[in-house]
């Protein structure tokens, strides 16, 4: 979760852009998913129009039952549940990515919309700023 002081000087310009966050990496092996989530929360705090997509190994980020005690790393993934409080409600997961990993929507820790590759292609194409990767 971002520090309070991250929000100092909150954006007052009034412009709203479509920010797309692309999650393609597994959690814990690298810090990218964790730090990408921090970028999501700040964009939401700036009242931007945020969309978060999970594809490839990114779908593992929202797998239920993650317990990182044994590897000694803070589990950042419960913060995905806070997205709703930040009015980040557009979460999409690619069906093909889930299926390749033997997962279904029931395995996920937040409510998401499972979409086809074709649908995801349209969602991702209509954005102004793309982060993650």
């Amino acid at each position: 979760m971002p520090d309070e002081n991250e929000f100092e000087g909150e954006y007052q310009g009034g412009t709203v852009k479509r920010f797309l966050y692309v999650n393609r990496r597994a959690p814990h092996g690298t810090i990218y998913p964790h730090e990408t989530l921090e970028m999501v929360l700040i964009a939401a705090a700036f009242d931007q129009d945020v969309t978060v997509v999970f594809l490839d190994d990114g779908v593992y980020q929202i797998k239920k039952d993650q317990d990182t005690k044994g590897i000694g790393i803070k589990n950042f993934t419960p913060a995905f549940r806070a997205l709703d409080d930040y009015d980040v409600e557009k979460l999409y997961v690619e069906k093909e990515s889930l299926e390749a990993r033997g997962l279904t929507a029931e395995d996920l820790l937040v409510p998401v919309e499972v979409v086809s590759t074709e649908e995801l292609r349209e969602i991702m194409a209509e954005q102004d700023v793309v982060l993650g990767g």
């Binding site: 929000f7 920010f19 931007q48 982060l131």
Partner: protein, 119 residues
């Protein structure tokens, strides 16, 4: 046109910082405006003034500082990413400053394009 730049990797280990530098240089030469270069993830290491590459290799920290000075660039290092990586004010090369992640989002909002260089 206003082009914002995001650099996500440290110098040397990944080519991302080299490519970002060359892109920024080319954009400026073409008359585009670079409202901000934001350094996130290991990108914060681009600001470490103690970096001393071999004498026959490029010095990316110095290159960013010089480009920044020449064009008055706003080179911003993310505070949260910098803290965990031990990149503090005392290590900051000329022209860089440390600030919040909000500055990246602001760049995304205000620039016409945001271009990401990472790994």
């Amino acid at each position: 046109m206003k082009l914002g730049i995001l650099v996500n990797e440290g110098p040397f280990t990944h080519q991302a910082s080299d490519t970002a530098y060359r892109f920024t240089e080319a954009a400026l030469a073409k008359g585009h405006e670079i409202p901000r270069v934001f350094f996130y993830h290991d990108g914060v290491n681009n600001a470490n003034k103690l970096s001393e590459p071999q004498s026959d290799d490029r010095n990316l920290v110095k290159l960013w500082s010089e480009l920044g000075e020449k064009h008055g660039l706003d080179l911003v290092v993310c505070v949260a990413a910098a803290l965990r990586r031990g990149m503090t004010d005392e290590l900051l090369a000329a022209g860089f400053r440390i600030s919040g992640l909000g500055q990246l989002i602001e760049t995304g909002i205000e620039a016409d394009r945001l271009v990401v260089f990472g790994d």
